[in-house]
Amino acid sequence: MIYEVFARKTRGEPLRHIGNVSAPDDELARVYAFSTYDEEKWFDMFVTPRDRLVEVFNRREPIAPQEDA
């Protein structure tokens, strides 16, 4: 499963997408995100399974709700 990794440098700063890791579960995803991205000094860091990201819209396609095919 692919997890997207988000982090920020200071409290109050918006979360930034910094990359992704592949892991079988949340626990290992946390560990892998930490070991892969701990080169910089982050204030906090989060992971979420990629398939839990719900798309609101994108600019490649019409913004209006699409008809189901």
Partner: protein, 262 residues
């Protein structure tokens, strides 16, 4: 003890001995992690091994440096024979598979951490000043070991059986490493150098191990009274045993001896 340093020569020697046990163990543990940077089951876990290797070598360095006033650190790092090493025996040979490495990660690394935690408020100031940073880095090692142990323990019968074998073998060595209840070790506790030793420290360790090995059906009580036949408390090893020659050649950096600088 209220002074900043240990009060007797005997205690000082015992502290230095303990530091060497920890430093050698961390040096070898770092190498064991490094051996899996390539060839680990996932790219991400290889990266984690690289990170843990780096941490352990840093910890080893820092601990060796604590001995610079009493011994030649350069010789400690590059000039010793196998019988002079004091690493925990579980690190004597290269792990043959990933199950063994996971057992080392979850159980050996944790044993060293529990020992370090007992020194976190040490009356021996040079040690106390350094232990907090080490323990902070160890949290991630523990999370990695615990997550992998759980994964392999619950990934089907064959995986579970192999994980069980590695855990039992490693646990026998780590629990023994805390040693029997001896006056020397107890003197360090009474002097405030360590908060626990021997069976008391082993009990702390087993409390931490219990949830990790529960999925394997292991009762940690079975490891509370190790067999100390042949155990040398000064080295925390079986008298006469040594890490293997290939391990020591790599740890010492024999291939690169010509590049050693003063």
């Amino acid at each position: 003890m209220s002074q900043a340093t240990t009060s007797t020569a005997l205690e000082t020697a015992a502290v230095h001995g303990l530091i060497l046990c920890l430093a050698d163990s961390k040096r070898l543990l770092g190498m064991r992690y490094a051996e899996w940077i390539l060839g680990a089951p996932e790219l991400e876990t290889g990266i984690a091994c690289a990170s843990m290797a780096q941490d352990e070598w840093g910890h080893g360095r820092l601990l060796y440096a604590l001995l610079k006033d009493v011994t030649d650190v350069d010789r400690l790092e590059h000039g010793r024979e196998p019988h002079e090493y004091r690493n925990i025996e579980a690190l004597d040979h290269e792990p043959t598979d990933w199950f063994e490495l996971v057992a080392i990660n979850a159980l050996v690394d944790l044993a060293l951490t529990v020992q370090l935690e007992a020194l976190a408020d040490s009356a021996y100031v040079p040690l106390r000043q350094r232990v907090a940073k080490l323990l902070d880095e160890e949290r991630f090692h523990a999370a990695h070991g615990a997550a992998w142990l759980k994964r392999l323990a619950t990934a089907g019968e064959e995986s579970r059986a192999r994980m069980l074998d590695s855990v039992k073998e490693t646990l026998a060595q780590t629990t023994r490493w805390f040693g029997p209840d001896l006056d020397d070790a107890q003197a360090l506790v009474e002097a405030g150098v360590a908060s626990a030793a021997g069976s008391a420290l082993r009990a702390r360790y087993l409390d931490r191990v219990r949830p990790l090995v529960e999925p394997l059906g292991i009762d940690v009580a079975a490891f509370a009274n190790p067999d100390f036949a042949g155990f040398d408390p000064a080295t925390r090893r079986t008298a006469g045993s040594t890490p293997d020659a290939a391990t020591i050649a790599r740890i010492r950096g024999d291939r690169n001896r010509m590049f050693l600088m003063d």
